[in-house]
Symmetry: C2
Subunit: 219 residues, 2 copies
């Protein structure tokens, strides 16, 4: 049995990733309170980790102190899907996965876990550069140079089981492994119900539609 650290936002992808990791060994679910406006995902992440009896570590790192993203700066509006904008949208958070993976590596080394899992996906995604497989591969090599474990010849592996899957594939896989999809939260807007209009809502709806199933979180 492998011990692993799983980055869990409380969204669809990270929840399916957690479900897969739990089939592989003991898991520490790692969630970041980074000052995101969609704070409801933090409660969902906790409930999801609890549903697997996994240790849940909530790390606070207030990225709103430096800003640069619609997700952490209330003065920047979250755009709707299809709104004109750059290739990389304003919901991009500078260095988010770089920071999250770095902390996950520190936690993994301290807890003697051999793997870090992250549900990045570069197919049905928002174009964030830190979700691409070339970033993940480069990060793994860098982390091996930074960590005691790497220097000692036993680097911590990074697992990205969803990287080449469509959102519909991820929905199907989640249902297959019994992931608690009804608890997941994707919407970028911090309202009582998903807005249905932002990039995250759009990608999620597309995935469920293509998989031919109703989204259990919208019931």
């Amino acid at each position: 049995m492998t011990a692993s650290v799983v980055v869990l936002s409380g969204g669809l992808d990270s929840t399916v990733c957690l479900a897969l990791a739990t089939q592989n060994g003991t898991v520490t679910a790692l969630t970041f309170d980074y000052g995101q406006r969609h704070r409801v995902e933090l409660e969902r992440a906790e409930a999801i980790a609890r549903s697997y009896n996994a240790e849940h570590l909530l790390v606070t790192l207030d990225a709103s102190a430096w800003g640069g993203s619609a997700l952490t700066d209330p003065s920047i509006d979250v755009p709707n899907f299809g709104d004109p904008g750059d290739e990389i949208p304003v919901t991009y958070v500078p260095a988010r996965n770089l920071i999250f993976l770095s902390i996950a590596m520190g936690v993994a080394e301290a807890r003697r876990a051999g793997e870090v899992w992250i549900g990045v996906n570069a197919l049905d995604y928002s174009g964030y550069p830190d979700c691409r497989p070339e970033f993940i591969a480069s990060f793994a090599a860098t982390a091996a140079l930074a960590l005691k474990r790497g220097v000692q010849g036993d680097p911590i592996a990074i697992r990205t089981p969803l990287v080449d899957k469509t959102k519909a594939d991820i929905v199907r896989l989640g249902l297959e492994v019994g992931a608690p999809l009804h608890l997941t939260w994707s919407c970028y807007r911090g309202q009582a119900r998903p807005c249905g209009e932002c990039d995250a809502c759009h990608l999620r709806a597309k995935g469920f539609a293509e998989a031919g199933v109703a989204d259990p979180a919208l019931r």
Copy 2:
């Protein structure tokens, strides 16, 4: 004039690094409260940044929540210099510079700074793998893949002006550029005065002795 983000612990090396960066443009000094036992360095960092009229950003990230280091876990003693132990001592903090540099990159991108400066040194050092130039070079390449700026062909540079210097060189350079060495704090033990016995105290004393000057922080 270049805008830069400087990782400032409040120790000797990071203070000299800050002094050099201020000669190069406007600076944001970035200090981490990571649950370190030598908390006095946080006050020193603030005073040092203030002495340069530099913006000081204090980021809290409680690494004691996952542990794995004598610097964040009160149940692990800080060894004296020369105590038997591994090549990488127990004062190593898992993934520390990986995490600090990642956050510094996020801050730099959000603030539109073109450079991140860090006072790592791989000559008179404690053997931490995340101080070595091969780690820094690999990190810069990884960050360029993670960041919007990198994807857009304008990556954020990492400057390590002290990487190949002895501690005596760093002391001399600090005096030359008028760095406030009297405000710096190196000791790993969180006592009222430096212990004189830990690795950090030992390396610092060696540097001042070899430079032939008295340590102004010990007056």
